[in-house]
Symmetry: C3
Subunit: 162 residues, 3 copies
C-alpha cells in the first residue's frame, strides 16, 4: 500500500516522571469583540500551568459554550485573517435552519451556523505538560475562535498530573 | 493585530485537589435507529462519573467505531434537526469512492461518506470532572452522532483522577 | 423528540484500577513522502504503551506542527485512497489567502490550505489505555495525515496513568 505504516521511528529517549497526582483548575473570562474573532490563549494557559505546580501531565482547555471553539494554529497576522474569513464562510448563515425559525425555536440569536461550526471544530482541547510547561510546537498557538460574539466567554482550565 | 492576545483574564480562584489516582471504566451499548441519528449521552456519562467516585480529573467518551462520532452541542429539538440535516449532506454519499466499489473494496456497506464524516467530527471526547460531576456548560450536551446506522454501537467510558 | 436520550444502557461491569500515577513520554519522527499522505501510527503507539508500563490511563498523540493532523479511521487501502483524495480537495489550494501572498506574509510555502485543513481535523488525540494496551475498536487505526509534505514530522507520545 502506498501509505505504508511508519517504520522504525526514532525513539531517542523515554522520560518517566512519578509523584503525587494533583488536579488544579481555574476559570478565565474572555470578552470577545466581533461575531467572528480569534484570541490567542497560549500565554494565559502557559502562565496557568507554570503557576499550578504541575510538572508532567496534561492541561485541558474547555469552552463551556456551544458557539465558540478551541483550536490550534499558527498565530500569524495574515493567517489569522485567512482563518477568520474561512470560518465565517464555512456554513452559509442565511440557509434555512429550524433553530433560526420562530416557528420551531425560541432562540433569537439566529446562530445555527455558529452551532454547526463549533461542533465541527471542537470545544475542548487537551495538551501535554512536560517540565512544568505546555508542550506546543514552535508554530502552535492555542486559539479561542469566537463564532457568535461579541460575548463574555468562560473557559475552564484544568492542569492534571504530577 | 486585530485579533489581539487575551489581556488580563480574570482568575478569581484556583482549586487544587490531591489524593490517590484511580481509573474507572465501563462500556455502554447504544442501539441506533436510522442511518443518521443523534443520541444525548450526557445523563449516562454524568451517572457513570457520579457512581465512579472520581471527584476531580477527567472522563473520556470513546466510540470504538469508525462511522459514528462524539460531539458537543445544544440539545434543542430544532437544532438537533438542523445538525442531522447538515451532517447528512456534509459529504455527497453518491460521489465515487473506491471504498464503495467492489473492484477495490470488500466493504458492502457503501459507507465511505460515513467514514469521512466521522473522521472530520472525531470519535473521542475528553471532559473535565470537578466536584464529582462532569464539567459542561449550561447548553452543552455530549452527543453520539450515528452516521451509518442502524447498528448497535459500543462506547467506552473511562473516568480518571482523584 | 425523535432523537431521544439513551435509554437504559447496558453497563455489564465497571473496572477500577488504583496505584501510583506515572507519566511516560517519548518523541517519534516520521519522514513523510508527499504533499498529502497518510501514516498508520497504531503499532508505534501500541508498542510505546506496552513498553511504558502504564496499565490503565491514557496515551496522548500530539503533532507539534500546524500543517498535519492526527485522526482515527479504518486502514483499508481503498479507503486510505478516498481519505487522501477528500483531504486534498477539502480546501481549494488556489483560492486567495493572505498567508500565501508576499504582500502580507513571509511564508513561502503557500500552505494556507494545509493550515485550514489541519485546524479542522485536529492535531492532538487522546486514547484510553486499559490492560497495558491502547483501547481501539477493531477497525480503528490512529493516522498521521500529512497535509504539507514531504517533511520530517515530530510526534510526541505521552502515556499517563497507573
Amino acid at each position: 500500500m502506498a501509505s505504508a505504516s511508519v517504520k522504525a521511528p526514532v525513539q531517542p529517549s523515554v522520560d518517566v516522571v512519578t509523584g503525587a497526582y494533583r488536579v488544579v483548575s481555574t476559570t478565565i473570562k474572555v470578552q470577545t469583540d466581533g461575531r467572528e474573532e480569534l484570541y490567542n490563549l497560549s500565554k494565559t494557559i502557559r502562565d496557568f500551568v507554570r503557576s499550578s505546580g504541575i510538572r508532567a501531565g496534561t492541561v485541558m482547555v474547555s469552552s463551556l459554550h456551544t458557539t465558540c471553539a478551541i483550536l490550534i494554529n499558527e498565530w500569524q497576522e495574515a493567517l489569522v485573517h485567512d482563518v477568520k474569513k474561512y470560518l465565517s464562510t464555512l456554513i452559509n448563515k442565511d440557509d434555512y435552519f429550524r433553530h433560526n425559525d420562530p416557528e420551531w425555536s425560541d432562540c433569537d440569536r439566529h446562530n445555527a451556523d455558529s452551532h454547526l461550526r463549533s461542533l465541527m471544530l471542537g470545544m475542548n482541547l487537551t495538551l501535554q505538560v512536560a517540565e512544568s510547561d505546555v508542550v506546543l510546537g514552535e508554530w502552535q498557538s492555542v486559539i479561542l475562535a469566537e463564532l457568535d460574539g461579541p460575548r463574555e466567554r468562560t473557559i475552564r482550565l484544568q492542569a492534571m498530573g504530577i
